[in-house]
Amino acid sequence: MSAAPAIDVRGLVKSFGGRRVVDDVSLTVAKGEISGFLGPNGSGKTTTIRLMCGLLTPDAGEGQVLGMDIRQQGHLIKREVGYMTQRFSFYEDLTIEENLAFVAGLYGLSPARQHVRDTLADLGLTARRQQLAGSLSGGWKQRLALAACIMHKPRLLLLDEPTAGVDPKARREFWDEIHARAHDGLTVLVSTHYMDEAERCHRINYIAYGKLVAAGTVAQVVKGAGLTTLVLEGPQTPAAARALRGMPGVDQIAPFGNTLHVVGRDGAALDRSARQVAQQTGCALRPSETSLEDVFIHFMGEARDNMA
């Protein structure tokens, strides 16, 4: 892998109507890496992605995508990047084949017919090529969108919540496809809400209210959050949950079946509180690994506190 990163942007700022949607975001994605982009709804993920592919111009900040300047060379970046929008944005009144032919023509792929045929075969769309895009199910629409994004052999793929509304099997296939492409050297930045998808990424970046909160591998991010997690188990977990609320050291209480996960920043205080409640309610207490989800919920709460 060469040294220059595929994405290297610094201090990106974008405001809409006086509201800072993206606030001083810096992001680095190495070549051939699958980088997850996470954050709550409205946190600025889509806007950041649009800034990087030239669909929006930043108010402040600078950087390179594939070695090209995002302010000056947007038209060149467009040729090398495949951008898959959050909402299906191909023509529903065109067939799969016609949509792909349209994309091939705009990128000047020659011979267009051959590129379309190869892409159809590559993604298993050949049998459905005469079907109107509007009549496809969510999974097939997503497959068409992916086909259209990778047909021109981009070096960077920007995927904005690609698996929203897609069933688990199609999701699994989609991720297998992404991993295969990354193995061939394609760089991928993918935004998602799903924890299992985040864990499939080489690195993750967490953004909340326009600010980048954490970045690194999943293990690094979890460790960096500095959280302690304890599990209470027993018949009285609902009572335990009520008792724990508001006690020193307790930041999050989440029931999982018959168990109760308690998470906090101050490990010692959390331990004291949990011990006390476990004794009162007759629950068993044991330490546990902090999950990525616990970390994200913690980040969200923290970011909201900062906003207030």
Binding site: L55, K78, D93, F102
Partner: protein, 378 residues
């Protein structure tokens, strides 16, 4: 493949637009059906020289002269006497209610005056709330009445000459001696039909992409504003060609509108007008955010252009400020152009002013549209 323009990309955009146009059956049918419907409706319905208007006759003395006048008036086709032999008061009420458009009064001393050669008088009261209704009927009146009298007084030559003289009116209509409204309406209709379909269709061009979310995708691919604009507009040049063929064909075959000018000049002018309309519609679609807004903007533009371009009401009859405002609309210039070329056989020098105005419209509007086009989603 250059950065600013590529034929491959343009052809790709064109192919896509054509497929979408073909699949959208209702819109496609509308583009062909609406012009036909409008042509038939307006072509036959609009008539600024109406005939067979209901009239009342007040004639206290029924003599051969009054009968001659009445039958002569009926023969013109303008007057249809629905109430004959009513009193002056009854006639007054009929006119006030709008039951009749005219009241013709033959005074009791009419016959005596005619025989004496002593300037006979006829009273015609017209319902002038719609001035165009009465104009044709009134203009034929004096001639017809004089001729009727002359026929009746064939033997008394001297009195006839005197009586007829006092009623003499010269009506001189150039280019359209019979006053056939279709000659005026049908060429104008071509302009109106083109305006409605072309502006509306292109006004939705970009807003449809924005509403369906496909704009984001289109912008993330390497297509330039000029290519996107041409890709959206050129298919409609083909549609307009079909509309022009239909309307001009019908003008000849169905309405018998004379065509005395140059066909090349006519088609060239029509092409300019179509381009102006397409660019105007495209400009609307760069301003509007939704298809609904595009539609509203189109109608906001459409009604005034219909009313003050000279299509509905005589252009020269409007006050000065309205005429200046009218110059803004491409339709105004097109109407002047097409009436001059089709009916008067005008050459290119005679219509150069209108053509120049259309060329300017196309250039200025395309420039604004290209500058307004949002290449990003900002």
């Amino acid at each position: 493949m250059t950065r600013w323009f590529s034929l491959t990309r343009l052809l790709t955009l064109l192919r896509k637009e054509m497929i979408q146009m073909r699949r959208d059956r209702i819109t496609f049918a509308m583009m062909l059906g609406v012009p036909l419907m409008q042509l038939m409706l307006f072509g036959f319905a609009i008539n600024t020289d109406p005939k067979g208007l209901p009239s009342a006759l007040v004639a206290p003395t029924q003599d051969r002269f009054s009968r001659a006048i009445v039958s002569a008036l009926e023969l013109t086709g303008y007057y249809r006497f629905t109430s004959a032999g009513v009193s002056a008061a009854e006639a007054e009420a009929l006119l006030a209610r709008g039951d009749v458009s005219f009241v013709v009064t033959v005074p009791s001393d009419f016959g005596r005056r005619v025989l004496r050669g002593d300037a006979p008088t006829l009273l015609i009261e017209a319902d002038a709330t719609d001035p165009s209704v009465a104009s044709g009927a009134i203009s034929t009146l004096s001639t017809v009445a004089a001729q009727a009298l002359q026929r009746e007084l064939g033997t008394q030559a001297e009195a006839a000459a005197q009586a007829a003289q006092s009623l003499q009116v010269v009506v001189h209509r150039r280019y359209n001696p019979e006053g056939i409204t279709q000659y005026n309406i049908v060429p104008g209709l071509l302009g109106v039909i083109l305006q409605l379909t072309m502006v509306m269709m292109t006004a939705m061009a970009l807003t449809r992409e924005i509403e369906r979310g496909t704009m984001e995708n289109l912008l993330s691919m390497p297509a330039t504003p000029l290519e996107i604009m041409l890709g959206k507009l050129l298919p409609y040049v083909a549609v307009s060609a079909v509309q022009v063929l239909v309307v001009l064909g019908a003008a000849q075959v169905v309405f018998g509108v004379p065509f005395v000018g140059s066909l090349h000049l006519l088609l060239g002018g029509i092409l300019l007008f179509v381009l102006a309309l397409l660019v105007l519609g495209y400009l609307i679609s760069t301003v509007a955010r939704t298809q609904m807004q595009a539609m509203q903007l189109t109608f906001f533009f459409f009604l005034p252009s219909l009313l003050i371009s000279g299509f509905m009401f005589p252009y020269r009859g409007m006050p000065g400020w309205a005429q200046i405002l009218g110059e803004v609309f491409p339709l105004t210039h097109f109407l002047r152009f097409i009436r001059a070329v089709m009916l008067k056989g005008a050459g290119i020098e005679a219509v150069s002013g209108s053509l120049l105005a259309l060329v300017l419209t196309v250039l200025v509007l395309s420039l604004i549209a290209l500058l307004r086009f949002r290449r990003t989603l900002d």
